[in-house]
């Protein structure tokens, strides 16, 4: 295990940011800390980096007890949401910063900077100032700067949060490819479940200062531990006391399956390629069903149509009663 976090607590005044957090992050993987804003994931990342200190608990990085080490001694690379560039230095100088502080020979620094700028596709911008770069380019520079000191772990705090949607998607793919090339243990914080599912090998879901679930993207999606995780990873609806995904609800005009719930179509809403049908069951549930346009057209659904709804076989469901902690 590359990073071991044991029993970490952190409060800011009355606000509990982290509540007895225990996580192990394996070496060489790309892990996402996923959760809603204010859930404590950034605090956890900053505690790993030594930029914040835990009230109690321990942090071990590659077998080294790091709980009380200052950030300078942890050998972690950190990338910030708002780039944190050194504005008065050129791109090359920014990347060279960590190496110059370590008093490496000039030739070695120049060679390493050149190699890193090539890696992040910024070699032609070496002598520009950061203010002359776009947001995406600045973040790539920040990444090169963090990689320059050959960190044992690379930590990224909402690295694409300040970028527009298109650049964000590009950088996401690029980060994944970069990680496959460099293989440094990487942890990144995000509140975007799509980003986490696309990029990460493993996802740690954090909410209200607690770890809700740890697993691969598939595990989280197919076997969510509770309705929070299920709800955070995609849309959910309730049917007969269980929580399930709207596309896992079967809808028919005749009772086909035993135990199907009878109800009335309250509203039909078309969004792009899908159709959302809101069904009010006779038991009083309001169920959302997602259908393709073709399915909806075949069924000829309208408001007040009588329908039968049931969970499809093999649907991912969560019993909300069990999920209430």
């Amino acid at each position: 295990m590359s990073i071991e976090i044991k029993g970490v607590n952190k409060s800011f005044g009355d606000f509990v940011a982290l509540d007895d957090v225990n996580v192990s992050l394996p070496t060489g993987q790309l892990t996402a800390l996923l959760g809603p804003s204010g859930g404590g994931k950034s605090t956890l990342l900053r505690i790993i980096a030594g930029l914040d200190s835990a009230d109690s608990g321990t942090v071990t990085i590659e077998g080294t007890e790091a709980t009380h080490l200052p950030p300078q001694k942890r050998n972690v690379g950190f990338v910030f949401q708002h780039y944190a560039v050194f504005k008065h230095m050129t791109v090359a100088k920014n990347v060279a910063f960590g190496l110059e502080i370590r008093k490496r020979p000039k030739a070695e620094v120049a060679e390493k900077v050149d190699e890193l700028l090539r890696l992040v596709h910024l070699q032609q911008f070496a002598h520009r100032l950061p203010s002359q770069l776009s947001g995406g380019q600045r973040q790539r520079m920040a990444l090169a700067r963090a990689l320059a000191v050959e960190p044992t772990v690379l930590l990224l705090d909402e690295p694409f949060g300040a970028l527009d949607a298109k650049v964000r998607k590009e950088l996401r793919d690029w980060l994944r490819r970069l990680h496959d090339e460099v293989h440094v243990t990487t942890v990144f914080v995000t509140h975007d479940q799509e980003e986490a599912m696309e990029v990460a090998d493993e996802i740690v879901v954090i909410n209200n200062g607690r770890v809700e679930q740890v697993g691969t993207p598939d595990q989280l999606y197919d076997e969510p531990a509770n309705d929070f995780v299920m709800g955070f990873l995609g849309e959910t609806t309730k049917l007969g006391g269980t929580v399930l995904r709207p596309h896992d609800v079967h809808l028919s005009l005749r009772p086909q399956v035993p135990g199907a719930h009878e109800g009335t179509v309250a509203r039909v809403l078309r969004v792009g390629f899908e159709v959302r049908v809101f069904v009010l069951t006779d038991d009083g549930d309001e169920v959302t069903v997602t259908l393709t346009r073709t399915q909806a057209r075949q069924l000829g659904l309208e408001q007040d149509t009588r329908v039968w709804v049931s969970a499809v076989a093999g649907a991912t469901t969560v019993d909300p009663v069990a999920a209430v902690v």
Partner: protein, 247 residues
């Protein structure tokens, strides 16, 4: 541009014309006058000393105001401007009552060169603070965290990351502070005693020229001060660019 000309350029030109009207001899007589030379030296040297002190102290005060949390901070933030905002003669009176004859704290420095330094320091205190403060507020702590995680000590972070960002503001404040220092009259006139060749500053000297009806000499002194101010602002700007580039 017209506004700027009316307000600044034309009056400045008028002074220079007036001074040069008497030819080189006016300048020569002014410059060879012991009292005037002493006043010039005192003014410029004192202002330089205080400006240097302000660059250090002003930056520290700005740092404390932006980064530290303590009781009474808002009040301190407000009081910083007082020396700048109050009429200078009132400032002079304040200093005189505290450091003058029968000083309540037993420090009588009226009539010494210390009083000149003190008065200049008093009125120029806010300049560097007020130019550095907003820049420091804009400076994200992320940048310092980034430097720390790259292995930089606090001192290295300050020297290589924070200070270069502050340099333009520090020098802008220094230029203002110096300009105010060499032109100070009100705060000085009461406490310094205006002893020729000891505590008499240029502005006082200039006033006495005017009182004596010697407008040409006054204009000549004014032109010299204009050159000094210009030189100071230009050289501060050059130093600032040098420092910023070195990074």
């Amino acid at each position: 541009m017209i506004w700027f000309s009316l307000l600044v350029l034309i009056p400045l030109a008028a002074i220079v014309v007036k001074a040069t009207g008497g030819g080189w001899s006016t300048f020569e007589s002014v410059l060879t006058n012991e009292n005037t030379r002493a006043a010039l030296t005192l003014t410029v040297v004192s202002s330089l000393i205080i400006t240097a002190i302000n660059m250090v102290m002003g930056t520290i005060i700005a740092w404390v105001l932006v980064r530290d949390r303590f009781w009474g901070k808002a009040l301190l933030d407000l009081i910083i401007d007082v020396p700048f905002a109050m009429p200078t003669i009132v400032a002079g009176l304040t200093l005189l009552s505290l450091y003058g004859p029968q000083s309540p704290i037993g420090v009588e420095i009226n009539g010494t060169r210390w009083s000149v330094l003190l008065a200049i320091a008093f009125v120029t205190l806010p300049f560097v603070v007020r130019t550095v403060q907003p820049v420091l507020e804009e400076l994200e702590t992320d940048v310092e965290d980034a430097a720390a995680s790259l292995g930089a000590t606090r001192f290295t972070t300050f020297r290589r990351v924070v200070l270069p960002a502050l340099v333009p503001a520090i020098f802008a404040g220094a230029a203002l502070s110096f300009a105010r220092g060499i032109s100070e009259y009100g705060a000085l006139v009461l406490i310094s005693g205006n002893l020729p060749r000891r505590t008499e500053v240029v502005s006082v000297r200039l006033f006495s020229f005017l009182e004596g009806g010697n407008t040409q000499s006054a204009a000549a002194v004014a032109t010299i001060m204009l050159l000094v101010a210009l030189l100071a602002i230009v050289s501060l700007d050059i130093i600032q660019r040098r420092v910023a580039r070195r990074g």
